[in-house]
Symmetry: C2
Subunit: 155 residues, 2 copies
């Protein structure tokens, strides 16, 4: 398997899957798993102006978002509130229980992350986190969708 071991994408996938695997355990009691958690996070920070906005952020289909929020609402973690400024929008607001659930999960997720970076020396771990954050931000800003053609052409 030496061939793949050096591949950026492959390694990215391995690490990501390891993380997902672990977080699935941690987030088992949150409806929707990882994605449910991400929605909670947005709600906690008040970033959930509308469902479509969330869809674009999290990269999920709009029809999926509907029943994700359904389940979170059923579990009493969030409420849907019509936006007074545009009553088509539903603002996703966090409940008491939702905040507690989120805080608990957030603490445990942090531990998972720490465990994943595990044996790295402090400096290297920090550098990795920073670079990763930078890259993610950039990848997100310059959405690959608009780069595809360009990418495919120039090789």
């Amino acid at each position: 398997m030496k061939g793949l071991r050096q591949d950026l994408g492959f390694n990215l996938g391995v690490l990501f899957r390891a993380y997902v695997k672990a977080s699935n355990v941690v987030l088992a009691d949150i409806p929707g798993g990882p994605r449910g958690y991400q929605i909670l996070t947005a709600a906690v920070h008040g970033d959930a102006g509308s469902q479509v906005a969330l869809c674009r952020e999290l990269g999920v289909d709009r029809t999926v978002m509907t029943y994700l929020v359904d389940d979170l609402e059923k579990a009493g973690l969030v409420r849907r509130e019509p936006d007074p400024r545009d009553r088509r929008n539903r603002r996703i607001v966090i409940t008491e229980g939702g905040r507690e659930t989120w805080e608990h999960a957030e603490r445990r997720l942090r531990a998972v992350g720490a465990h994943l970076l595990g044996d790295l020396p402090e400096a290297e771990a920090t550098a990795f986190r920073q670079t990763l954050e930078h890259l993610a931000r950039r990848a997100d800003a310059a959405d690959p969708v608009s780069h595809r053609c360009q990418l495919v052409e120039d090789l």
Copy 2:
């Protein structure tokens, strides 16, 4: 969305999805997409001793592997050869056309990776690659499955 931006797992996901998105375009003409490519890579390096071995490496279900290899074989990129040492095993061997296809894809994928790390200074990019490779190797060795309980308990 500030809340999620600092999250290790979230950033991993964003970057990984960006990569997958781009590579899907590059690997569009390989049956099975990214996973087909990974199988080709293993075949090129002669690492495909058996299908189950590949399954474990790549993290795909054994029943899925069957039709993945089916498609690659139909496209003339690989051949199944019975292993003389254990005739239950099928060794996946690369064909002429398969090697060419793989080499072409590999070159383009490298470009995608370079594009993803894009504006990083040379030193930082290298460091990131190395750390990532290290982490992936570790995550793979210490399979989270065996660490779950431990993980969940100690918090």
